[in-house]
Symmetry: C2
Subunit: 192 residues, 2 copies
């Protein structure tokens, strides 16, 4: 029982985690991943992404059995029918989720048992930017505030270190703070 | 019937759209929005965001009746149990959703009736970055490719213009390509 309890920490299999790190050190090409989403417009502000396949660890994944669907929408004041969180809210979720998972994995690796992780995120924007009314305002959030509550069986200083390390290594935190080059291509089809 | 058909284009109430633009021009403080998400760790790579309240158009919103929940996870190869798309996949969804909604709104404003909008997104990363194994690799995607299929009752050149305008004005496209300042604070609680 003790051995199992040691192996699984914060719901993470630390034996598998250290095995994965060793495997990538020995064979760095296993570190290449490609993630994907396909989105289809449904009507108005309502669209839906389907997410399943990805490339990673040297092969096209065959383990994921479920196709995930995620809906987006807009509230009434932004001309939608609340068919889902809006895209900017989805970005906040992506950021929160990545920081949280990074934090949980770092804690597992460092022997810290967590009991609670909660975060609230706020993003401020002036929609004169994205509406094209005033170029003094950017389209997206001017800033995002993230506030974490983290409880665990380690001194507060150690918990702060774990959060700092997660922030330093989170994939979405990197992308949201530093930006990513995006290539966009279009296949237009006139049906008139 | 014709009047209603003109007013609603691509599922967007264009009368409300132009009314919103006029209201913001007359009273620019209506343009301030704040969006939010609260995320809670469930176990391992599984966490869940709840999304409801926001500030916009001069007041705290009271129109949204539903609290949205969005789950995140990781596939087995990344130590999770597929409890949802992973955070990087959620970021792709946020980007796809925002470009699509921007495109649909721009088309509605410009009198273009769309019949189909579909996009596929791919993001490439080398996880040696986020795993802390090699600082030559960034934590997030090196690049994202977005491929749009857009059909509508306008010449191809016009459809291309609509996509270009959407790209220029999308909130999440701006954030993902240019980055956003993120402030992070932590309230650690030692329970040992």
């Amino acid at each position: 029982m003790t051995e199992i309890a040691e192996k699984i920490r914060n719901g993470v299999n630390t034996e598998q985690m250290f095995g994965t790190l060793d495997a990538i050190k020995a064979q760095p090409e296993l570190a290449r991943f490609q993630f994907r989403a396909t989105n289809r417009w449904i009507g108005g502000a309502h669209n839906r992404s389907t997410i399943k396949g990805f490339w990673g660890a040297g092969q096209e994944d065959t383990s994921r059995e479920q196709t995930f669907t995620v809906d987006a929408g807009e509230p009434a004041v932004l001309l939608g029918f609340d068919t889902g969180p809006n895209p900017a809210e989805h970005l906040l979720h992506a950021l929160a989720a990545c920081l949280t998972t990074s934090l949980v994995y770092v804690a597992a690796a460092r022997g810290v048992r967590l009991t609670e992780v909660e975060s609230t995120l706020e993003g401020d924007m002036d929609v004169r930017g994205c509406l094209g009314l005033d170029d003094d305002y950017r389209n997206g959030f001017e800033r995002i505030r993230v506030s974490f509550k983290v409880s665990g069986d380690a001194p507060e200083e150690k918990l702060r270190e774990v959060v700092a390390r997660a922030q330093k290594r989170s994939a979405v935190y990197d992308m949201v703070t530093n930006g990513v080059p995006v290539e966009l291509e279009v296949a237009p089809c006139s049906v008139s």
